[in-house]
Symmetry: C2
Subunit: 190 residues, 2 copies
DNA sequence: TGTACATCAGTGAACGCGCGTTCACTGATGTAC
DNA sequence: TGTACATCAGTGAACGCGCGTTCACTGATGTAC
């Protein structure tokens, strides 16, 4: 009765979501056509609508997936503040800046998510909440209230710093922004 | 010999640049078509190419204009840290969040500028330098080195905070992000 | 074991649409005489 | 003072193109007997 392994279509769908995530972060959501996205996944454009109701539907799924991946990173870090410090140094590195496709979805897509539909913004909101919680949990057991405020500050500053460093065409200035970003992040954590 | 006042065409050009700035910040650069931009300025699409070589050319001019306007705001503030504090409170207000068309070009366009051509990114880089200088100048006469680092941190955090607050579909969370953003900004200034 | 059939993930051409851009034209204006 | 002309900011229809989406079809697979 089942001609293909029952995981087959699911796996294809997941592959589309992941390759689309990479492409969206690199070229933008508006800048990535459905044909390109499918070609990235080794398929042709026509198959798209067997997996998603619309491009918007894909976008919402990609945002969910990207933020889940982002949250999952926290599980792989050293415990407590040390792990957070590692994350900051990696996040605000020239490698991250120069490879947006492999990096943080917030830095790459935040502006575009603002103009997306409810489903996508809801998906982003849920993911952002989880990230803030993860950061806050590492900043304290002592004072949860201030930890949460600092977590928001740390997150927003890291996102803004990475974006600014990517926009600057003067590499020296860009490097300075990244380096100062690390200093400022560590200072917020203190 | 001159059929129209010699400032006439210049004034029209400036009007296009300003109305386009508003539209870009509201709907995005990719999301704003040339016909819409011209209609905003009270003209029809055909006249566009009498003023600009291409849409890219307009974008570069808009970015220059927007950042110049942003820098000019600093001249209207109370002197020193007090003026900066006023700016922070205004910048991270629900009004700013809910009216991107009238607000900060960095928060609204940074992601898209990253994917623009050299001319636009150069225009942004020059403007960002001026803004960082303005902020740094207000943070100190005492220690210029650390003031510059703090200025970068303040700027990036404000941009990231405004973007995040706009993306969140949960208003309570969004309000929290803005309020904490003010706390965090004042803390960096200290 | 072999053959006819049902399933369905994926194909690829086609659709209407809005984009950035071009261009022949208009019509209000100031100049020439 | 009046008329023919040159200028040029702006008009609006048209262009090719790539977008998101649709759809009739293919062909590899497992099932039935």
């Amino acid at each position: 009765m089942v001609r293909y392994a029952k995981e087959h279509k699911q796996a294809t769908r997941q592959r589309i979501i992941e390759t689309a995530g990479h492409r969206f972060k690199q070229d933008g959501i508006d800048g990535s056509g459905v044909s390109t996205l499918m070609s990235d996944a080794g398929l042709t454009n026509g198959a798209f609508y067997a997996h998603f109701a619309s491009k918007d539907d894909l976008v919402a799924n990609v945002v969910t997936d990207q933020l889940r991946t982002q949250v999952a990173r926290y599980g792989t870090l050293r415990p407590g503040r040390q792990g957070l410090e590692d994350l900051v140094r990696d996040y605000l590195s020239p490698e991250q800046r120069d490879h947006p496709g492999d990096g943080c979805p917030s830095a790459a897509l935040l502006d575009e998510i603002i103009r997306c539909g409810d489903e996508t913004r809801q998906a982003y909101t849920d993911g952002a909440r989880d990230i803030v919680d993860e950061i806050a949990a590492r900043l304290t057991p002592a004072n949860p209230q201030s930890a949460r405020g600092k977590a928001i500050g740390l997150f927003t500053m890291m996102v803004g710093t990475l974006q600014l460093s990517r926009a600057l065409s003067d590499q020296k200035f860009s490097d300075e922004v990244l380096a100062q970003g690390i200093e400022n992040a560590l200072s917020i954590m203190r």
